[in-house]
């Protein structure tokens, strides 16, 4: 602040003699033009509220749609991570198995290929767990003997779809061991889910790109109209020596602001939807005794959306400016 005051005091005496503008002054005035352009652009945008609102809403919907789909996918994947952990298989031990047979079985499973970890849950532990989690604890005391078998939880090493065949082999290998009653794993369902998510991701990306291009065109068209309505101004500015960058600047700012406002409104739509749906989804998850809860876009997600909106805005404006600004030359 102090620096600029000093420069302002000095400026008149020098300027009266010299037509040249000092570089530091030029830089200061360059920044001043940026901020004044931003201000006048904002004033212009809000000076036509209906027109602006229409454009912004169109942009917002086009941005919100793929974002919402992405969010849905993200939530499904979150549901999927819960399932990935249930990629673990449950090995039920025969009720008649002796303690030594169980110890032998434990060793045998650990020695199999593709086994990440083995956890043993005895009959008693299983009963305790059941009592605690099911809420039928008081009913269980009426049973004269423990109905639950001992269980091995086997975590296979596979994490992605390609290796799922290994898991299938593993299931067969464990089932062939002594004292094994049954091996359970819901693999097919898991495989389908993973494949569907992959396809959906690609689909959302494609829709996102298509709608992004739509936003680009909407902003480009708005800027094109703005350029035409400010034709006189462009001609005068060019006549008195305004550079292309100087002429371009207000339009790029218009694009930036439209894109950003659209993204802001889109994020508002998203957050509203998440809050609105969240309650019902959580209630549903509770009914299924699931830990699942609806995940919103989050701070970084919203920031990314704004960044995308702003960049598309500038790009759309740039395309329009490049197409039309050269046509407007003083004649």
């Amino acid at each position: 602040m102090a620096g600029s005051n000093k420069a302002n005091r000095e400026a008149p005496s020098r300027g009266a003699r010299d037509q040249k503008v000092k570089l530091s002054d030029r830089w200061r005035s360059y920044r001043a033009h940026h901020s004044s352009t931003l201000r006048t652009t904002l004033a212009k945008i809000f000076g036509e509220p209906i027109q602006t609102l229409l454009t912004v809403v169109v942009i917002a919907i086009a941005l919100a749609l793929p974002s919402a789909m992405f969010l849905v996918l993200h939530n499904v994947q979150q549901l999927g991570t819960g399932i990935e952990s249930s990629q673990q298989m449950t090995v039920f031990v025969e009720k008649t198995a002796t303690r030594s047979a169980i110890e032998q079985l434990s060793e045998d499973i650990e020695q199999l290929a593709h086994v990440a970890s083995v956890t043993y849950i005895s009959e008693e532990q299983a009963l305790e767990e059941f009592k605690a989690s099911s809420g039928f604890g008081s009913a269980l005391q009426y049973l004269d003997k423990n109905p639950l078998p001992a269980v091995f939880l086997v975590q296979p090493k596979t994490t992605n779809t390609a290796e799922i065949t290994h898991t299938q082999d593993l299931v067969a290998a464990i089932a062939a061991l002594n004292a094994v009653e049954e091996v359970q794993i819901d693999m097919l369902w898991m495989q389908r889910l993973l494949t569907i998510t992959e396809i959906s991701q690609k689909l959302v990306l494609a829709i996102g790109i298509a709608l992004g291009i739509g936003v680009l065109l909407v902003i480009g068209n708005t800027i094109r109209l703005a350029i035409q309505s400010r034709r006189d101004e462009i001609i005068v500015v060019k006549l008195v020596g305004g550079t292309d960058a100087y002429v371009r600047r207000p339009f790029l700012y218009t694009g930036l602001l439209l894109g950003l406002l659209g993204a802001m409104m889109a994020s508002l739509m998203l957050v509203t939807c998440v809050v609105w749906l969240g309650r019902s989804v959580n209630a549903l998850a509770d009914l299924y005794q699931s830990q699942f809860h609806l995940v919103g876009p989050g701070f970084s997600g919203i920031l990314t959306l704004w960044l995308i909106g702003a960049s598309i805005g500038v790009m759309g404006a740039w395309v329009a400016v490049m197409q039309h600004l050269r046509e407007i030359e003083p004649k």
């Binding site: 300027g15 005035s29 360059y30 001043a32 033009h33 005068v236 008195v240 020596g241």
Partner: protein
């Protein structure tokens, strides 16, 4: 300061607007360019503004060949010139002050000095009290004076004017012309295109006469130059 060497201009339509025009204007000189409509006066000014390029011949400004100027250096060239248009070319979406300030904003003057120079320029054309008005609320003569203030606010070395008195009555026209003479007296090279023969005959300045694209009289007495 301004020198035309065998400059011809043929438009794409086939119209030959200028035919081998030669003349030289010294620094600080004031000259009128006259002739019937369609004689090529506007074309000559457009060449000086780099709104058009010559088809052949060379155009030297301050010793620099304009033909060699690339498109990207046109803005910086135009900033050295002040231009007054017949139709004023004022912007109706801003005040008189902001119209006059435009060249300074483009040049990157600090705000405080912009204000000082704009007021000095408006004072020079006697319109200081109208700085906050919209140009549309001014009379034709006042609008033209705002245009002149804008043309000189950045103290150009060359001042061009295309029919600056086109729509004005004789009294206002004389006022405008005396403004131009004031700029010439401080060393500005002034070139004014006008068809107002009566007016310029009363003023003692060089008169160049264009007819059908040919410089019939370059205003220099025989044996001069």
């Amino acid at each position: 300061m301004i020198r035309f060497d065998n400059v011809s201009k043929r438009y794409e339509s086939g119209l030959e607007a200028l035919k081998r025009v030669n003349f030289e204007l010294e620094a600080g000189e004031m000259a009128f360019l006259t002739g019937p409509s369609g004689a090529g006066k506007s074309t000559l000014l457009k060449l000086l503004m780099l709104m058009e390029r010559p088809s052949s011949g060379t155009l030297l400004i301050n010793g620099k060949n304009l033909n060699r100027l690339s498109r990207s250096s046109i803005p910086s060239y135009r900033r050295q010139i002040g231009v007054v248009f017949q139709n004023h070319q004022l912007l109706s979406d801003r005040t008189v002050f902001d119209n006059v300030a435009l060249p300074l904003q483009i040049l990157g003057y600090p705000i405080s000095e912009t204000g000082r120079r704009v007021r000095a320029a408006l004072d020079g054309v006697g319109l200081l009290e109208k700085e906050a008005n919209n140009p549309l609320t001014l009379s034709g003569g006042e609008q033209q004076r705002v245009g002149i203030a804008r043309a000189v606010v950045h103290k150009p070395k060359i001042l061009l004017a295309d029919e600056p008195t086109g729509n004005l009555d004789p009294k206002l026209s004389t006022e405008i012309m005396s403004l131009f003479r004031r700029f010439q007296s401080v060393g500005v090279t002034v070139l004014i295109a006008t068809h107002d023969i009566n007016l310029i005959n009363r003023l003692d300045h060089r008169i160049m006469y264009l007819e059908d694209g040919i410089m019939a009289d370059n205003g220099v007495p025989y044996g001069g130059e």
